[in-house]
Symmetry: C2
Subunit: 324 residues, 2 copies
Amino acid sequence: MSNAFNRPDQLSAKLRERILRESAELGYHGPNFAARSLRKGESGVVAVVLADSISYSLCDPVASQFLQGVAELLGENQKQLLLLSSAQDELQQSSAESLPDGFIFYGAPSGDIFERVKRSGKPIIAVDFETEDSESVNINNEQGAYMVASHALAKKPLNIAVLGLRLVESQRICRLTAQDMQVESKEISRSRLKGYMRACDELNLSLIPSQIWHIPVNTPDMAEIAAREALTLNPLPDLILCMSDVIALAALRVANDLDISIPEQIHVTGFDDIPEAQRSTPSLTTVCQQSSEKGRVATRLLLDKEHKDSVVLDTRLVIRASCD
Amino acid sequence: MSNAFNRPDQLSAKLRERILRESAELGYHGPNFAARSLRKGESGVVAVVLADSISYSLCDPVASQFLQGVAELLGENQKQLLLLSSAQDELQQSSAESLPDGFIFYGAPSGDIFERVKRSGKPIIAVDFETEDSESVNINNEQGAYMVASHALAKKPLNIAVLGLRLVESQRICRLTAQDMQVESKEISRSRLKGYMRACDELNLSLIPSQIWHIPVNTPDMAEIAAREALTLNPLPDLILCMSDVIALAALRVANDLDISIPEQIHVTGFDDIPEAQRSTPSLTTVCQQSSEKGRVATRLLLDKEHKDSVVLDTRLVIRASCD
DNA sequence: TTGAAAGCGATACCAT
DNA sequence: ATGGTATCGCTTTCAA
């Protein structure tokens, strides 16, 4: 009789239907998930552990696209998606950590959830950060930033500003100081900054700390404030390198608001290639980092027990109107 | 010793630390979720069952905002978020259905997952659709559409077009026929259409079926195609009522592309009030449906065992540049 | 206070 | 083929 649930193919559809109906009347509602996964030692659930809060990640276009890619492949493989966050790493959560069969860590996690999960021995894929003993999926941030900056510098800008993301610890928007430039770090933003700097070096240009903004969170509101600061400088910059498309789009809006024409007066570049970037006016020159593909690759890596190599996805320069 | 995991307050922090470390060395990684939920009969997991595929929902700004609201409240209440979809309602899934303690159905589900879950007796909140024996959270679509249409009609348009969402069954973009107008339905889009029509009636205007577009999916691509059709009509419409902001934003882009000035030549209205609506140029006159609040309300309803009433959230007219 | 034992529900295995 | 039984790991209860 349990065949009716577990091996639908072994019974006639009609019989199966009758059994299901009758057992439902007896108060049986299908196999119990907890019991099954306890017994089988697996759950069919995959967790994505987000570095930021779940709410935040859901409104960030880059994270959304990543999740979209993950969800797509999980669906195809009959796996369930559990969203966790290392930011709100609480008591109850630490229990749920034992449910998933595998983990995708999106962004360097805070707290000790990563350590705990690693100890459990379950498969882990690290995305957008480096780690020792797990496979990871990364993109070449430095290279992407280098490409877009090189492209932009070919326009011979005289006054460059950078709208950067999470470059220092502060929760406030601020510009960098000379000593902020010394910091060595493998963080995404730092890699992008390095890429910008390498492109500048090649042309014997250099970035001035006071022309580099730190934006603590990748939101349109924050970005607009910083962009307004940069676009009301005197003299006006003629190139703004933005470390995300959200920031670059904010810069486009502010420029429009201030009647600064793009790309005539100022060139603007972004990073990420979010869907909005190709729809904006002007459309955005940026670096495509294939977020949803990244999600698919990470999921494939997690589910395929064969493949055992970390992946570095290519970044591609996407030239559009904002810097052409 | 199990106290170390379950009642951290009863032991000194130091002892707890030592116990955890030692047991970890023995190969113990914290309480087993499956065993715990099997025994306790609850999991601490809440499922959101999306009417569309998970991937699609993640890129739809309205669904994203809703999920954001849900995630926010679940986080505060130490609940885990499991994303399901009634669209890809498969075998494996039907097992996972028994895991969550409660369900939020976002949009009228397809398949029989709703029936199955209902039979399980677990709490259910229905969002954006009507159902008999569960609490629900809805908005007044008819009223919202009526308000925005009334506002727009006050501009005395002569030639009205409607860019509608999911008005008929077709997977293709098409315009309605006279008999399509007869359909009675409680679906969201039909309610919105009714609202538009009531506003028209009051002014002795009427909508012409051939000026009403059906768009099968709420994506920028689809919307742009339909918008281009509407904006290349001769004579050009001077009011475009759009059933979503995604559609309205597409209309703004197409208009810009065709050098049609808004709001001078054409007025455009949206629906939803997604974040992008206030950032667009021109900004969008629309109906705010408080998506993230909807998510919070639904979650509160699910978690608070007290409150036992369905909720209809207000819609608010938001007047911005595209129709002012 | 501490420990032992029953049982949650499904499955895998062994015996019929 | 079919039925019975031990077991997964935890919590709850009851006894010492």
